[in-house]
Amino acid sequence: MTARRFRSARRIPAALVALLVLAVAGLFLYDLAAVRADRPAMAWRRELAHRLEVHTPADPGVQLAGVALALAGVVLLLLAFTPGIRSILMMRSPGQDAGQDTGQDSGHEAGQDAVEASRPPLRAGIGRKDAAQVLRDRAMEVPGVRSARVRMGRSRVRVRATSHFRELDEVRADLDAVIAVGIEELGLVHPPRPRLRVRRRAD
């Protein structure tokens, strides 16, 4: 049931790491070749060799460098293994949602599987900002809502509305229903839980 998330191609981190490796390898290669050709080594390499001789792993500077290296490594590993593109919410592929509410626990029947296999597999997602905009439009249609602000999270959606007429409780009840329908119409794999706040316009 869970649609596989979109995975970022990680082009930018890859390009940065490639550039770094290219620069460092190029610099060392140039210097090594120069030394092999009986030219003096560049000053920074003598400096580096000197430092490596003087410092021990107990030095705070070396420890700091160790921490920095380890952190950079962890960041790269995270980039490698997390899907990324957190700003897109996955939508249910049509053909998977025969029973929309009970989709997770409805048993797979052989006939249904055949139908699913014959359909083109489609993965779809909607931007979080865009989903928020859809919900805000729905909220603005509720009588009594003067302004609405929707913040879409990955697991919950926060709706803040101000009302200028009608009883607040009625507006809240209407808004609750409208937002529930709106979330259903987004067709998300993991529908976010709504959290509403309706207030009287402050003036």
Partner: protein, 185 residues
């Protein structure tokens, strides 16, 4: 494809950096303990004296790193677009379909769906197994789930049958045209 390569190489780079950091912090095996220098002059002379072969190992490793990094960097610039699709005509021959033509046809059909303001389609993947990437821009009052159903049903089925493909995987990303909030009073 490029995503997988990127992720593997990023993981390798990350593992190397993490290992280097941990070694520096714990001062274990390659280093000689907490009080020993990181790289003593004696060690340096032992490996990198003028007529040893460690030089050549080091130079070869650096050349390999350099070439790999260059290829990796350049492959980030390539856009994965498919120019042509091989269509099985059923009589033992193949026809060649321009990828752009298929993408435009899908875009036109998707653009005609209810509530779709605009649509861009790119064909990528391999010639034998192409895939579609669809960016759909929705009108403010469209119902995303319904539009998705329309896209998955008639539009993609049509594309699949007309190109004679058994499988045409597709990715769709929905956006909503931006507009100001309207008040209904």
């Amino acid at each position: 494809m490029i995503g997988t390569v990127n992720r593997i190489l990023l993981a390798v780079a990350g593992a190397v950096l993490l290992a280097a950091g941990v070694v520096l912090l714990t001062a274990v095996r390659p280093l000689g303990g907490r009080a020993a220098p990181l790289l003593s002059a004696a060690d340096r002379r032992r490996y990198l004296h003028a007529d040893g072969w460690w030089w050549w190992v080091l130079i070869a490793a650096l050349v390999v790193c350099l070439l790999l990094a260059l290829w990796w960097l350049l492959s980030q610039l390539k856009r994965a677009r498919l120019r042509t699709v091989a269509v099985d005509t059923g009589d033992g021959a193949f026809a060649v379909l321009r990828g752009r033509a298929l993408a435009d046809a899908v875009a036109a059909e998707a653009g005609a769906l209810d509530g779709v303001a605009g649509c861009r389609v790119v064909l990528h993947g391999r010639r034998g197994s192409p895939a579609l990437r669809v960016a759909v821009e929705l009108e403010p009052h469209a119902v995303p789930a319904d539009t998705l159903a329309g896209l998955a049903g008639p539009v993609l089925t049509h594309a699949r049958t007309s190109a004679g493909l058994a499988h045409l995987p597709a990715e769709a990303r929905f956006k909503v045209t931006s507009h100001r909030a309207r008040r209904v009073s």
